[in-house]
Every structure is written in C-alpha cells, then in structure tokens.
C-alpha cells in the first residue's frame, strides 16, 4: 500500500472508530478542568454533566462516569451544614448554586461555592441514594470546554486596566445536541440566549439569539431569560422560559437560530414577587405539568392544557389569562429542584433559619 493510501485508510478507520463510539465521548479529553466558578448544572446523555462557569465565561462538559444505578429517594437533612463541614467551614460560607439529578444513575450533583467573596472556590458534590456525600473531584476527568464570548469589546477596561463586565449565567440546558445558555450582563440589559452544539467544536462556539418580549402585543423589550426547561409541544421541541420581567413564554427550538431576533409567546403571567428559580416538566394522569420554584411563594404547578393553542397573551391580564396554575403551599422555601424519575423530584429547601435540606418529594 502506498503511503498516501495508507494515510487515507488510517483516516477512514479513525472516522469509523469515532462514529461508532458513544457520541458524547468524542471531543472529551482527560485532564483537569480549570473551573473558576460552578454555577448552573445540566445533564446531557451518558452521564455527561454540563457545568456553567460564569466567572471563567465557559461551559464545561464533564464525563462523570456515573452511568449505572436506579434512581431512588435521596434525603439529606442539613445538607448545607454537611457540605460546609466537608469543605472546612460553616454553612454561611457556602453557597449551593444549583442541583441536578443524573438521569443515568439517580445521583444528585450540587455546584457549590466555598466562600462568598471573589476568591470563592468552586466545588462539585455528589450525593448517592444512601446519602453518601462526597466531592466529585475534577482531577483527571474526561472533559471539554467551550469558552463563551464575554465582553463585546476586549479593550474595555477600567482605569486600573480591569474589565468590570461579567456575563452571569442564569440557566443551562441540553436539548437534542444543543447546550442552551441563558444569561444576563452586569452592565447592559442584554437579552442573548446562546446555543452551542455538543460535542463542542473549536469552530462553532455558538451564536446568540436576541430574545424579546411583547406585552399585549404592543410594548416590546429585550428580555433576558432567567430559567428554562425543554418541552415538546405537538411533537416539536420547545423551550419554556421565564423572563426576568416575569412572564412564562414558549419558543420553538427551531426558531432559535444564531443572529435571529425571537419573540417568545407569553403563555402565563406569573405575577409579582415570585421570581422563578428553577422549573421541571412532568406527566401525571395523562397530562403534563410544569413545576416552578420561585423566590417567595410555594412551588407553582402549571397545567399545559391547550399550550399548543395559545397564541400569546395579548390582552390586559385579569389574573386568569394564559395557563392555569396552582400554588403548592406545602412546598415553601424551595430554591432548587430537579426530576428524580417519573414520579419524584429532588428539592433543596431553605428554612427560615437558613438551614438547607435535600428532600425527595412525590411530584404534586
């Protein structure tokens, strides 16, 4: 075989080898991810954990190697104090930034900051169904990193030559090969929702979609997305998203094309004093519901009846327009939630004294 033929053959063998392996293992290489912070979490396929690093302006895809197990209930009383003790400090010096259940194993992952100042250290914690709480160590793991464009102008520095602009990442989700990232600048009122194809490639770092909101079909503003989840409406993948200005909206994923301007369709007004924190979709009795944790009420259970037919709330709200919801008063102080399985969710609850508990609840 001539040398050039051999090289081509070798190349083809490599392509076949990659294509028959798990898609998610591609582009992940062994090393130590240099997380500067650990914010929102989301699981992709095969135990791949996406970790948003707002300070480092990056998304990490980490192979947890955590692929077996049957989800079963997880309850850890005083989880905040327990994690703090592991990290050599007290609960007030620890922030639990997000919670995600690995659907491949049922184990719970927490993204944590050890410390509350600018030098706080990022930590990932894993909790199994026996309540065993351990650090998910980031040394020698398979991972990939996607850097996010941060400051629009790199020359933008203050007098001490520091850039003060940061892009906070408010939520992260994986839908059919795309990682969606919602965020908010600490300066301009930006409204970009970004999507990055996964496996990450060096070429495509994702492009932003400008998101807008029209109140009553009349007053249109740029509207940063605060939290979102995926949901299929009439078989088509959608994002259900809560805006920073409170309405719950839907977008078809197919409309979220780089550089596009997209206006979400308002499907519910969630009212005042209840900034959404986290949301999940589940099925009960043949119907789908959205469960939304928020800052100041019991958890809201929103029906999806006629979600495909809603053309958007365009009239002044009398308190009844859009999807109906009920408030589950027994679930107070829920700061994070994720689905454990079809019937149960794992929630992080903070009581009035600041103590945090991890609980498994039946989906209401």
């Amino acid at each position: 075989m001539r040398r050039s033929q051999f090289v081509v053959a070798l190349f083809l063998i490599c392509i076949v080898a990659v294509s028959i392996g798990p898609a998610t293992a591609a582009n992940l290489s062994e090393g130590t991810p240099d997380l500067k912070s650990a914010g929102p979490l989301a699981f992709g396929p095969d135990g791949v954990l996406f970790v948003a690093d707002p300070q480092g302006a990056a998304i990490f895809a980490i192979d947890t190697g955590d692929n077996s197990g049957t989800p079963s209930r997880i309850d850890v009383e005083g989880v905040g104090a327990k994690v703090a003790a592991m990290l050599g400090t007290t609960e007030r010096e620890v922030m639990i930034n997000d919670l995600a259940v690995n659907p491949s194993s049922g184990n719970v992952y927490l993204s944590v900051s050890r410390g509350r100042g600018p030098d706080a250290k990022p930590v990932l914690i894993r909790i199994d169904s026996d309540g065993n709480t351990s650090e998910f160590e980031l040394a020698n793991v398979k991972f990939a990193k996607a850097a996010l464009p941060n400051a629009p102008d790199p020359s933008a520095k203050d007098r001490r030559n520091r850039s003060l602009r940061t892009q906070s990442i408010t939520d992260l989700g994986y839908v059919d090969g795309q990682v969606f990232i919602a965020g908010l600048s600490n300066e301009e009122f930006a409204s970009t929702l970004r999507s990055i194809p996964f496996p990450f490639s060096d070429v495509n770092k994702g492009a932003g979609v400008r998101i807008f909101h029209g109140a009553h079909g009349r007053f249109e503003t740029g509207s940063p997305v605060r939290t979102f989840t995926q949901y299929k409406i009439a078989g088509e993948p959608h994002l259900l998203a809560a805006y920073t200005c409170t309405p719950l909206v839907k977008f078809p994923v197919s409309a979220l094309k780089p550089g596009e301007k997209v206006q979400g369709t308002t499907i519910a007004e969630l009212g005042n004093r209840n900034n959404p924190l986290d949301m999940v979709v589940y099925e009960q009795g043949g119907k789908d519901y959205v469960l939304i944790a928020n800052t100041s009420r019991g958890v809201m259970k929103v029906t999806t009846d006629n979600i495909e037919g809603i053309e958007g709330i365009t009239e002044k709200i009398g308190g009844t327009a859009g999807l109906k919801y009920e408030t589950i008063d027994s679930l107070q102080g829920v700061t994070q939630l994720d689905r454990l399985d079809d019937k149960n969710a794992v929630i992080l609850v903070q009581n009035d004294s600041g103590e945090q508990n991890l609980q498994t609840i039946a989906l209401p």
Binding site: Q55, A85, M86, P118, A156, L164, E220, G222, I317
Partner: protein, 437 residues
C-alpha cells in the same frame, strides 16, 4: 502500640517555635496525661499564632468502662510552611513499621478519616463530618493537608481514635486523642465602605433601570437583596422593587454590585406593574439605603450604612441621540482632553468602555477616560499628543442611558407608534478633526 514521642521532637529544617499547651489524652476517664505538644511553624512575616485546647469526646461514663490501658502520648501539631504558606496537621508518635504496613495498603480518604478525622469545631458547624483533605505518611508521621485553606476565626479539631486505627497493634484500646486549634482572626480587618453609587445625580427618571454600588473592598455574595432597601420619603419601604437574581451581578473583583430595578414593574402592560405600579413614581423622593450589616469576606461589616437620596422626574423613553452631543476638540500637539457633553446622564459603566477614539488608520488611541457631571460629560485624555488630522469616536449602539434606552433601541418599543429610531449597525461614529497650528 503507640509510642511516646520525645517532647522536643522538631524538624530542624524548619523555623518554628515550640508552644506549650496541655493535651488531655482521654484514656480511661480518670487519668489525663499532660504533655507539651503544639510545635508550630511560625511564619516570621505572618506571625500566625494558634491556640490549642483539648476536648476528650467520650463521656465520663463511657470512659470508666476502660481500664488498665497504658498511657499514650501523641503529638498533634498544626504547621504552616514558611515557604509556600501550606497548612497541614501532623500527628506523631507511632510505631513506624505498623504504620508503614498500613500505608502500603494505599488507604483512601474514607479509611483515614474513619480513625483520624479532622473536623470543624465551631459551635454552628457539623462536627460529625470529616473535613476533606489528603492524608499522607511522612517520616513516620501522619500528615493531613486540608482541601481548602483553614478559615480565620474557626476552630478545627483533630481526633485520633486508637481503637479504630488498624495499625495500633490489634488492641481494642479505646483511646481518643483530640486537639483543637483556633485560627486567629487577622488584625487587618479594615471595614469596607460604600464609595459611591451610580447614577450619581440626585434627580432620576421614573423608569430608572439600574444602580451600580461601588465598594472600597471585596464584598460577600448571597446577601445583597437583604441589604439594599428602597425607601419612600414618607418612610415607607417599597416592597420588592428589585430584580433578585440568585447569581447576583458582581464585577470580578467583588467591589461593584449591579442592582436592577424589577423590569416587570417598569415595562408597561405587565401584571407586576398593573397590580403594584412602578417602584419609583414621578414627583416623589426616595432613598436607596445600603445597610451596614452587609459583610465582607474578611468577616467585617460595612463601616457605616450609605444613603443615596433622589427625586424622581418623568419617565425617559427617548433614545440617546448622538447628533445632539456637543464635541469639543483639543489642540494639536497637546494632551488636552477630547470632551463630549450629553443631553442626559448615561450609564457610567458603559461610558467606560463603549466609546473608542480612533485615529485615521482605524487604530484605537490610548488614553484615559474621565466621566463627570453626573455622567453627562465624557473626557478622553490621550497618552501621546494629538496629531493634526482626522479622528473619530466610535460609539457602541448598546450604550444606554439610565433608563436602559440604548442608541440602537429604546428600552421599550411601542409597536403601535413605531416612531423610534432603530439603529441597525453595532457601532456609530462621530468624526472630528484636530487642526494644525
């Protein structure tokens, strides 16, 4: 068997000071053995001192069941390396061969922390959970390097349980040796203060979108929305006026906090505004109060509360228009500032980075920006003298006024009126000429 440690055991390669402290080894509840223990590496420059006390964990009743056990002396020390600031605990006084045999089994964290956990011994901490760290055996001693730096003001307890230690001669002696170290608080705890708040004007539009709070040092996350209050001149606190994000919007140094007013109460037609009205009302006066209880990472609170009082005028729905800006050009051969005056206050943070002066070849001119006159004035002083010829100022169309109206787009577009200008390009330019003498 545990062996007695020579009291003067020192690592001669290190500079350290031997402190004496009492160590009570809990053996049978009746007998406490005292020993000078706490050898401690002291950094000449940092002068860290550690106070040790000892707390046998077993109750007297439990201990009484034990008898006839040889007294044992272990030395437990907290050491700080003068070279790299590394902190670690050392537990000495073991028979080397059994310890080496145990080490050969390559024990993990679980195995070690089963018999020699290090815990946070603060009153509010969960002291039943071992602190993460790495155990190694060095020169016949067990060394524990904490996963994270020890925290000032906290106490840490090393608990060696001989009965659980697999290498202690197979006896079931229930000996528990504990030693607690308190990390002193740093003397450098200068309280942080609020330096200033933008917008700096004492009159603001009803639809003001955000405030920037600048601090003299880094602050803690996680309590911002408890520490900032919007108070009407009548004394009534405005309920839920801010956009509360769990992430909190800080700059990388932790010295500037961005506070958005709830856009759901500013934007017309949304339920929060329909039900509760805008947070600020034209004609009224308010105070933005920053509470002194806000804490910094050094543990101290703000030096004092900070109040910014302002009066509210009509909402501003108009985009900044660069055609109305007044540009004063400097003279050639000087570093006089280029001055631009705006019709209204613009966003202070964006003014620091969204205007770029370029020379005729398109390269940015290096210089210093100064924002003044309640953010209505922008001065640019070049590092090198102005040269005769054409220049331009490029302005990012995302530059906003204090109500979030940008050059490119108003905060809120009334689709029924559609009279606003929408700038399609990302940048707009103002050309200017430096005249030769």
């Amino acid at each position: 068997m545990l062996t007695r440690l020579p009291q003067s055991a020192k690592q001669t390669s290190r500079l350290y000071r031997q402190e004496s402290a009492n160590c009570h080894t809990a053996i049978d509840g009746r007998r406490f053995v005292k020993s000078a223990l706490a050898g401690f590496v002291l950094l000449a420059t940092f002068s860290l001192s550690v106070f040790a006390d000892d707390r046998p964990l077993r109750s007297q009743d439990e201990s009484r069941e034990q008898s006839g056990i040889e007294s044992t002396i272990l030395a437990i020390e907290l050491i700080r390396s003068e070279l790299d600031g590394d902190e670690y605990f050392e537990i000495k006084g073991f028979d080397p061969p059994p310890l080496a045999r145990f080490a050969a089994t390559n024990p993990g964290f679980q195995a070690w922390s089963h018999f020699v956990p290090v815990v946070v011994a603060d009153g509010k901490a969960n002291s039943s959970v071992p602190m993460l760290g790495k155990y190694t055996i060095i020169e016949g001693m067990i060394r524990f390097n904490p996963r994270f730096p020890l925290q000032e003001g906290l106490s840490y307890r090393v608990q060696f349980d001989a009965a659980k230690a697999p290498f202690v001669g197979g006896t079931r002696e229930r000996q528990l040796v504990t030693k607690t170290f308190t990390i002193p608080k740093s003397s450098n705890r200068e309280p942080v203060r609020v330096r200033r708040i933008f917008p700096s004007s004492d009159t603001l539009p009803e639809n003001t979108l955000k405030f920037y709070i600048h601090f003299s040092g880094p602050m803690n996350r996680g309590e911002a929305y408890k520490r900032v209050h919007l108070i009407h001149s009548s004394g009534r606190e405005i309920d839920s006026p801010f956009l509360e994000l769990g992430e909190e919007l800080w700059d990388p140094s932790g010295t500037r906090f961005t506070l958005f007013l709830d856009p759901g109460r500013i934007k017309r037609g949304l339920q929060p505004r329909e039900l509760f009205g805008p947070p600020l009302v034209e004609g009224d006066s308010y105070t933005l109060l920053v509470d002194k209880e806000w804490t910094a990472p050094n543990g101290s609170q703000l030096r004092e509360s900070y109040r910014k009082s302002f009066r509210v005028f009509a909402p501003d729905d108009i985009q900044p228009a660069i055609d109305n800006w007044k540009v004063q050009t400097p003279s050639a051969g000087t570093t006089e500032p280029l001055q631009i005056r705006f019709e209204e206050s613009l966003d202070e943070a964006l003014l620091q980075r969204m205007l770029v002066v370029r020379s005729a070849d398109g390269r940015p001119v290096r210089g210093t920006i100064k924002v003044s006159d309640h953010e209505k004035s922008w001065d640019f002083e070049p590092e090198a003298d102005w040269q005769p010829g054409p220049y331009q100022v490029d302005i990012n169309a995302a530059l906003e006024d204090v109500s979030g109206n940008s050059i490119g787009r108003p905060f809120e577009v009334d689709l029924f009126r559609k009279v606003e200008r929408e700038v399609k390009s990302d940048w707009v330019s103002i050309p200017f000429e430096i005249n030769g003498n």
